[in-house]
Structure formats: C-alpha cells, structure tokens
C-alpha cells in the first residue's frame, strides 16, 4: 500500500517537473518590464572569455549589473574581466559588476565519464549562486561551467521563482559541429546563436546573425 503511495507521489512530481520544464522552455516571455537587466555571464577559460567580453562590449548600459561566473582554475579570465569592467566604469559611473568562482566542471582533456561527477560537484556550487543572484538573463558561450549554471537557471523557472532567459552563443571556433555544452543547451536555452551558416543548416532552431565577435 505504502509502496503505491510512494509511486504515485513520485509520478506526480515527475509529471509536474516535466510540465513545468515544457512551460519554461516552450514559452518565451517577451517584453520584460524592468528598466535594467541583471545579467549572469558565464565566462571561463581563455578564448571563451575574450569572446563573451566582445559581445558584452556591444551591450547598452541597461544590462546592469553583470555577474560573472568563471572556473576557479582560471586566472586569466579574472584579469580580462577586471580590465574590461574598469574601462566600462570610466564611461558609465553607474556600471556595476561582481565576480564568482565555481569549481571547473570539465578540464580540456578530461574523460567524459569522470566529467559527470565533476559536473555534479559543480552543480552544488552553481545552484545556490544562481538562486541568490536571480538573474533576468544568463549569457554563455560554451565553457563547461555554463551547463550547471543554466540547469540552475532552468530550475528557477521550473519552481516558478523566476523565468530566466537563457541565451547561448556558440563559440566562433565551432564551424561545423557544436561543443558538448552546445549540444546539451541547444535543447534548454531560449535562444541559441551560431556564428557559421553550416551550423544553422544542421540546427534549424538556432539563430544566425553573421559573425558577431
């Protein structure tokens, strides 16, 4: 008897989660009423950071504050972000930013099976961080760190706390194939941007705006 109750309860929760996931991913809410947009930027590992800073450079001052997340093994990103933000602060005195370190979910040459565990570990860090920051927008371009962050952002929506817009920009490096993060987040991001026409052909849901970095 007890077993059946458990089964029904678990089943009910599962149906609820799937339904919420469908609602959150399936319906894009347009026209936010906020004056400024809180952005959570997933930077991390050399080239990815350079690329995402180029994208941020084009955004207006309404994208404020910017919260940067990067892998704790990454020293260069911290410096690049600081230089970028210092320059930005010279132009706009109300410009705000914060930086946050999370454990790296996947080193460049790490095997896929062990990345599962390190990713779970990274989720434990990403979840409270994302819940605390409650961003309007998550912007990422493919370092491993972005998967747990986007999962946390999605959970905010599933639990009905806040609908976070997830924008994924595949790195300019990817001409014909998606990165591992890209393959996953193609299904869970609200907008998935690619920078080469061949990828747009293969992934019809993606957005192609030309080369934007």
């Amino acid at each position: 008897m007890n077993f059946f109750f458990c089964l029904i309860a678990v089943g009910g929760v599962a149906v609820f989660v799937v339904l919420r996931l469908w609602l959150v991913v399936g319906f894009r809410r347009k026209g936010l009423k906020t004056v400024s947009v809180r952005v959570l930027v997933v930077a991390g590992s050399g080239g990815h950071t350079t690329e995402i800073l180029r994208l941020l450079g084009s955004l207006s001052k309404d994208y404020n504050p910017r919260h940067y997340v990067f892998a704790d093994t990454d020293k260069m990103s911290a410096v690049k972000i600081r230089l970028f933000e210092e320059k930005r602060a010279e132009r706009d005195s109300e410009s705000l930013y914060t930086t946050h370190r999370v454990p790296r979910s996947r080193e460049v040459q790490q095997s896929w099976s062990s990345s599962v565990f390190t990713t779970l570990y990274a989720v434990c860090y990403s979840l409270p961080l994302t819940f605390r920051l409650k961003p309007d927008l998550v912007l990422c371009n493919g370092p491993g760190t972005c998967v747990p962050i986007c999962a946390s952002a999605l959970l905010l929506g599933i639990l009905g706390i806040k609908k976070v817009i997830i924008v994924y920009v595949e790195s300019i490096c990817r001409v014909e194939t998606l990165s591992l993060s890209g393959k996953i987040l193609y299904h869970f991001s609200d907008y998935f941007i690619v920078q080469w026409p061949a990828l747009k052909g293969k992934y019809p849901k993606s957005v192609y705006l030309g080369r934007i970095v």
């Binding site: 350079t50 207006s60 934007i212």
Partner: protein
C-alpha cells in the same frame, strides 16, 4: 625637428615576429620556433626580432639580443595587443581569441595547430578561415616549410565582426525596443 627620429626609423626597419600560445601551453611550437633552423629562416626573411609568449609551457628558451637578432620570451601579459600591433608576422596557436585579435589588427597570420589535443575542434576555425583566405595554417612539423615558401601578401583583409547585430537581437529579446 622634422622627419622620423633615428629610433623610430630603426623600429620600422626592424621587422619582428610575435608567437603566442595563449593561456595554455604548446611546448612543441615554442621548441620549434626557437630552434636554430627557424631562427635562420626568419633572419633570411628579414626579421630581426622574435617575441615569444609561452604561457604555462615547460620549454623556456633563453632571451638574447645580438646585433643581428633578438629573442624575447615571456609567459603572460594582461593584454597582447601591443605585441600584436608591433609585429609584422604573427604565429599563433589555434585559439579563437588570439586568431581574431591578430586578424583584426590586419596582421599576416600563421596558425599552428596542436595535433596533441584530444578534441581538436580548434582546427575547424583555422581551416575555415584559411579556406576564406584570411590566414595560413599548419602543424609544427610543416611550419618551417610554410615559412620558407609562403607569400604573406596573398592573404585577404579580415572584415570586422558585427557585435551590434547581437545587441540589437538581445534588445528585442528582453524587450528594449528602440
């Protein structure tokens, strides 16, 4: 005083090469470009200075300066922009950041692909940009041959990217209509 100073005239005449491996390491490339054979070719091609950014690498050539050639080695700088601007030829790992920075400065670029990386997707970008005529690419084993035979003036000028397309798109997404 009119006309360029003596120092700046010398700087113009002193052609230089900048080699960058980005934030990781690429020992094979560092060893290759600092080898006697490569230095000889560079000298023959008229280069008088080689600047090497070696990142985390374990191969650390000694800097030196003679009357005919100088080698400068360092690990990192906050920005490589100055070194890229000063160089007449860039030899780079396949990282997108380094490649784009070099191309945007309008510098001739040779990308050396690291064949030891497991998931070598970086090759995709180098190959595509080569196909479009913006850069040359090779591996460490073919770098010497490439330097010897290549005509750098045949490269096309790289058009700038359009980040404003991204900001316009994002403004629409979040509801900042203009």
């Amino acid at each position: 005083m009119s006309g360029p100073s003596r120092a700046s005239r010398e700087a113009v005449a002193m052609k230089s090469v900048f080699v960058t491996v980005g934030t990781t390491s690429f020992d094979e490339l560092v060893a290759c470009v600092s080898s006697r054979a490569t230095l000889q070719i560079l000298r023959r091609l008229g280069y008088r200075k080689l600047v090497l950014q070696i990142g985390k690498g374990r191969v650390v050539p000694d800097s030196f300066a003679s009357t005919t050639f100088s080698l400068i080695v360092y690990r990192y700088k906050n920005s490589l922009k100055e070194d890229i601007k000063r160089a007449d030829l860039i030899i780079s790992h396949a990282g997108a950041g380094s490649c784009l920075e070099a191309l945007e400065e309008g510098k001739p670029l040779v990308v050396v692909v690291n064949e030891k990386l497991m998931d070598n997707h970086q090759l995709e970008l180098a190959r595509q940009l080569h196909k479009e005529g913006y850069l040359f690419y090779c591996s460490c084993s073919t770098l010497l041959e490439l330097l010897r035979s290549v005509d750098l003036s045949s490269l096309r000028r790289f058009p700038p990217g359009k980040p404003e397309m991204f900001s316009e798109f994002l403004d629409k997404v979040v509801g900042f209509e203009k």
